[in-house]
């Protein structure tokens, strides 16, 4: 766009662009900082989007850019798809959406590197540029297919459990080494097209193979990690095209994503390697005792649950992944309203990793207009269970499994849980007796104080609401 400016201004354009980039960087940093607190989060997001707008607009004045047809068409198409997706997506489907957006970002970074490589003669590049092109393609492609598989797992197109070949971890490790080797080969011999395509194909494959074995419950961590990757991929793309803004913002997001991943792992009392290379359903088979026939459960039905809840003083609701899957947050809110009308105290105990991604349950319940002061963090709610009459556990399993406190051999041992077993009565809303994502049996189900309410969470809650109304 620089050709439209008068000549005397032309001279200043490169420096002006760099200064604008610096300002945009500032907006990103302040934006991320403000996302740290609920009071400033929304403005933080707006700061960051302004920084992005500034960066994009000034880039159009770059002297390298000579044609605009593809740019206008691309931005229009992308924006329409992005706006449509962002407006239409259900809050329950947020993790899938983030995975998809993330995948497109990673894919774009890989494409930028490919485009840079394709637009010039391979001789033109020195070895350092070729290494960054190779790395950008590697990381971008892994992010792309990895995110797509994560999307598939979260939305149920791909089975949620562990899908793996024997020795999958070793295969992945070897493939990753080969991929790095190919980056090196490509850097030395860029004219050999086959190496380039092998690298591209292998990177796409690694993305699939590394995410496929990871269980559905660990997907949030994976998405957070892939988010970090997409930042690093953007940074690499910045090395490729020699753009500071890309390098900085990519590194910011990459590092922030790693920290966030770490925070999540801590909440689940796991280490990152443990999530990635899967202890669950894998090696520690000793702890898996699903389907023990000696134990018996008590089954319950809507009318009975209605009576128990309606005549209770205090009811705590422990929502989990299953509530999100069944999209039952509005039905839950209705039940809570009915109970409150009858004078029952209703609170929600939110485990940090409840839902399909950390903090997801808060978003879902906020959408259903649950008052914010009823949502209690784990540390806040745990002392209250001993004075609670009924705990409704809806679609949660591993986060209420007493094995985390009592059996040192269990894969989830040490994970902080909601102490629902201290309440007088627990009622578990569940589709079937299948174990949770961790693949471990839950002794809570067999407790004398526990009853099982089988069925789809939304349907069960609707039946419960109807039963409470009939009590009058």
């Amino acid at each position: 766009m620089s050709q439209f400016l008068p000549d005397f201004l032309q001279l200043y354009i490169p420096n002006a662009i760099q200064i604008a980039y610096l300002i945009a960087t500032g907006f990103f940093i302040v934006g991320i900082k403000r996302l740290n607190s609920p009071a400033t989060a929304r403005s933080g997001n707006q700061y960051a989007s302004f920084g992005m707008l500034l960066g994009v607009v000034v880039t159009l004045f770059d002297r390298e850019i000579i044609s605009f047809e593809f740019i206008i068409a691309g931005v229009l198409i992308g924006a329409v798809i992005g706006i449509f997706a962002a407006k239409k997506v259900q809050m329950t489907a947020m993790p899938e959406m983030v995975a998809l957006f993330n995948g497109s970002g990673g894919g774009a970074s890989a494409l930028v590197a490919w485009g840079e490589f394709s637009r010039m003669d391979p001789h033109f590049f020195d070895i350092q540029s070729l290494v960054t092109i190779g790395l950008s393609i590697l990381i971008g492609s892994i992010t792309f297919t990895g995110s797509l598989v994560a999307f598939g797992k979260l939305s149920g197109y791909i089975g949620g459990g562990r899908i793996a070949l024997p020795g999958q971890n070793i295969i992945n490790l070897v493939l990753t080494f080969i991929a790095f080797g190919l980056v090196g080969w490509f850097a030395v011999d860029p004219e050999y097209q086959l190496v380039f395509w092998l690298l591209f194909g292998l990177a796409l494959l690694i993305g699939v193979l590394t995410v496929l074995p990871i269980g559905g419950a660990d997907m949030p961590v994976v998405i957070s990690l892939l988010n970090s990757y997409s930042g690093i991929a953007a940074s690499m793309a910045g090395f490729v095209v020699g753009n500071n803004l890309l390098i900085i913002s990519g590194a910011l997001v990459g590092a922030a994503g790693l920290i966030l991943t770490n925070i999540m792992c801590k909440a689940m009392n796991r280490t990152l390697p443990n999530v990635l290379f899967g202890a669950f359903g894998g090696d520690s088979a000793g702890a898996v005792i699903a389907g023990d026939s000696d134990k018996s459960i008590q089954q319950t039905f809507p009318d009975d649950v209605a009576i128990q809840c309606a005549y209770a003083k205090k009811v705590i609701i422990a929502p989990g992944y299953g509530l999100a899957v069944a999209q039952a947050q509005h039905a839950l809110k209705e039940v809570a309203n009915l109970l409150e009308e009858r004078g029952v105290t209703v609170k929600y105990g939110i485990h940090p990793v409840a839902g399909r991604m950390p903090g997801h349950m808060n978003v879902l319940l906020a959408e259903a207009d649950v008052p914010y002061d009823q949502l209690k963090d784990m540390d806040e709610i745990n002392p209250e269970f001993s004075t609670t009459d009924v705990v409704l556990i809806i679609g949660a399993n591993d986060v209420v499994n007493p094995a985390a406190k009592t059996s040192p051999g269990s894969p989830i041992y040490g994970m902080p849980i909601l102490n629902v077993d201290e309440a007088r009565r627990t009622i578990v809303f569940k589709r079937s007796m299948n174990p949770g994502y961790a693949g471990i049996d839950n002794d809570l189900f067999y407790s004398e104080k526990n009853q099982m309410f089988f069925g789809d969470a939304k349907k069960s809650l609707n039946e419960l609401a109807a039963a409470i109304k009939e009590l009058d």
């Binding site: 983030v98 774009a108 988010n227 930042g231 790693l258």
Partner: protein
């Protein structure tokens, strides 16, 4: 063979300059990563989802690289690659920021209700 010597010198110099660029960029990368580490400290779990989706939108910054490829290439082949990259990156940026705003709006609404 004086000319030969000169040419060797210049390629050598060129390599040095490029290395300098790379090292300068690495400095930026590492320092920015440290800032990133420092920025995320005690985020309440409530905000994990919006934070992740907001940070994700920022990683769509690769759009700028895509603009340069699509608008600055002479071969149509590269332009098409750049075009595809723009579409992907714009989805990431526009969708990411909007959906984050949608989530954060719900939190904000709650606050006003309390007052």
């Amino acid at each position: 063979m004086p000319s030969c010597k000169i040419s060797i010198l210049t390629t050598h110099d060129a390599h040095l300059i490029i290395m300098e660029d790379l090292i300068f960029n690495l400095f930026i990368f590492v320092l920015a990563a440290f800032i990133g580490f420092e920025l995320i400290s005690k985020v309440p779990p409530t905000l994990h989802t919006p934070l992740m989706s907001g940070a994700n939108a920022i990683s769509g910054i690769t759009l700028i690289g895509a603009l340069i490829i699509a608008g600055g290439s002479e071969s149509v082949y590269s332009q098409w690659i750049g075009f595809t990259a723009i579409v992907f990156a714009t989805i990431n940026v526009v969708g990411g920021f909007m959906v984050t705003d949608r989530m954060l709006e719900m939190f904000k609404k709650k606050k006003e209700d309390e007052k």
